[in-house]
Amino acid sequence: MNFLSRNWRGLLFIFLGLFTVFGAHYFLDTCADAGHFMHMGDKEIHMGCTWTERGVIGVGGLVAFMGLAMLIARESWRGLSLAAAGAGALMILIPLYLIPTCAMPNMPCNLSLKPGSLLLGGLVLVAGLISMIRFRKLDGAEAR
């Protein structure tokens, strides 16, 4: 059994986690990325979506860390997969309820960060649930 077959779960979550971190930081726009700020006198203040992005990046980092944990402690694969699925659900809840993006539907964050986070969260959630299943051919007799 080769390295990929033995460690596909860990590698998958490291990839999804890092993809979330870099995707949210470099490709998914917040209103501040598009030059929109709130004005309070002369001060420019970041809108709420800046904190949404940071929340999503944080959860993405956690998913990557879970992937790393799966490589180190392979016997815990099922529990870590369930936790990763929970992190995916959290990634969906952050832009919707926990740290909501801006109110107007056409604001940059609602066109980019919000749908991107929901898609990434959905992928991590589904990957976490699938990863809880034992695949005879891939996992062999090792994973129980």
Partner: protein, 403 residues
């Protein structure tokens, strides 16, 4: 084997065969998913854009719009996407437009771009001031949603503007209340706030002392004149007359708006079609290779089936059903994934390509989904037809001993 029992048995066999090599089946399913998802999203966009244009133009209620020269593109963007615009021309043009033969009604509108809100996080909006005396486009909706005229501090808002009926809204330091909300059109009107022109003039006057930035509208100027014609078929001809008789104006017709949207849609489809065709070709090749391999692996099994009394037709049907099952399953997953991903990025796509969008009704949506799934199943069966046909030409004895 009685036919009524044979067919469900063959379906079961087809489903079990796909599980024999899950990795290979998943790779082909993902390919079908990608083609079906992109095709479904493309169909949904086309249906939704056409539905939005029909609904939006019916709601606009005017056959022509007279705007200052050089403002046609901005008007198109404002009408289609609700992108705020502000341009002005001399209000005296109204009389000249109304005097042109064939013009049934003409009414001015004033466009105002709001300031960025200091409250999180509403952005800019477009205000449209209409003349209650001559208006023939806003008042019909007012009768429908409110059944009375607006008070001086009341506004009527498009479907996507935030706030509930009675909620306050502040523009240029002046307070207003939301009196009613319009039904969705999928066009720019959904992002627009409507109020009487008198309220706009009052707001401009007060903005000098109340707003962070004063609202400057030149005296007696308007942004656009909406024109109703006795015979809408004469729109292109009367548009030419207006442009030749009145200097400094351009005329936007409903046909131009439809054409502009159609051009933008073509722009989007130029990106989508090569993706669909390219992936479709790859998937078809994958299907042929996969089923050629499956046919080779199963030559013994098919030979045994034939030896046990299965007809050539049943043997072919077993393979074709497997291919159709895989195609249909991938198609169904593609439709669901296409709908979900498109739903997430709908606004971003529409804003990027300046396209209006209104979801088509459930019947159209379901018909589109069923058509995509049926085509995916049919495509799978057709791709497997040749390997299946070759296999059934083998003599059962040779097929059993072939490997």
């Amino acid at each position: 084997m009685p036919h009524s029992k044979g067919v469900p048995g063959l379906w079961r066999l087809a489903a079990l065969n796909l599980l024999r090599n899950p990795g290979r089946s998943i790779a082909v399913l993902l390919g079908v998913l990608l083609v079906a998802g992109t095709a479904f999203a493309g169909g949904l966009i086309t249906l939704g854009v056409n539905h939005a244009v029909e609904t939006g133009l019916a709601r606009l209620g005017a056959d022509l719009m007279v705007v200052p020269k050089g403002s046609v593109d901005a008007t198109h963007t404002a009408l289609v996407m609700g992108e705020p615009v502000a341009f002005y021309m001399d209000g005296a043009i109204l009389g000249q437009v109304a005097a042109i033969p064939g013009v049934r009604a003409a009414s001015p509108q004033i466009y105002v771009e709001t300031l960025s809100s200091s409250a999180c996080c509403t952005g800019r909006m477009m205000l449209v001031g209409y003349d209650p005396e001559s208006d023939f486009t806003v008042k019909p909706w007012l009768r429908y949603v409110l059944n009375r005229a607006l008070d001086p501090d009341e506004i009527i808002v498009g479907n996507h503007v935030l706030g509930l009926t009675g909620d306050p809204m502040k523009f240029y330091g002046t307070d207003f209340r939301i009196a009613a909300r319009l039904d969705p059109t999928g066009m720019g009107m959904d992002e627009t706030v409507f109020l009487p022109a008198t309220a706009v003039w009052e707001m401009a006057k007060n903005s000098v002392t109340l707003a962070e930035e004063p609202l400057a509208i030149p005296d007696g100027h308007v942004s656009a004149i909406l024109v109703g014609l006795n015979d809408p078929a004469q729109a292109p001809e009367i548009a030419r007359q207006i442009e030749s008789q009145i200097s400094g104006v351009s005329v936007v017709t409903a046909g131009q708006i439809t054409q502009g949207v159609s051009d933008d849609l073509d722009g989007l489809m130029t990106y989508l079609l090569p993706i669909i065709v390219g992936v479709l070709l790859v998937v078809l090749v994958l299907f042929v290779i996969l089923f050629a391999a499956i046919a080779h692996e199963r030559s013994r099994e098919i030979g045994l089936l034939r030896a046990l009394g299965a007809t050539v037709r049943q043997a072919i049907a077993a393979l074709l059903m497997e291919a159709a099952f895989m195609g249909g399953l991938g198609g169904l997953a593609g439709v669901l994934a296409g709908y979900a991903v498109y739903g997430l990025f709908k606004t971003a796509i529409m804003v990027s390509y300046t396209l209006p969008f209104l979801y088509p009704n459930a019947t159209q949506l379901i018909s589109l989904g069923v058509a995509v799934v049926a085509l995916a199943a049919l495509g799978g069966a057709l791709a497997a037809a040749y390997p299946a046909w070759r296999l059934t030409r083998l003599d059962p004895h040779h097929a059993i001993h072939a490997r």
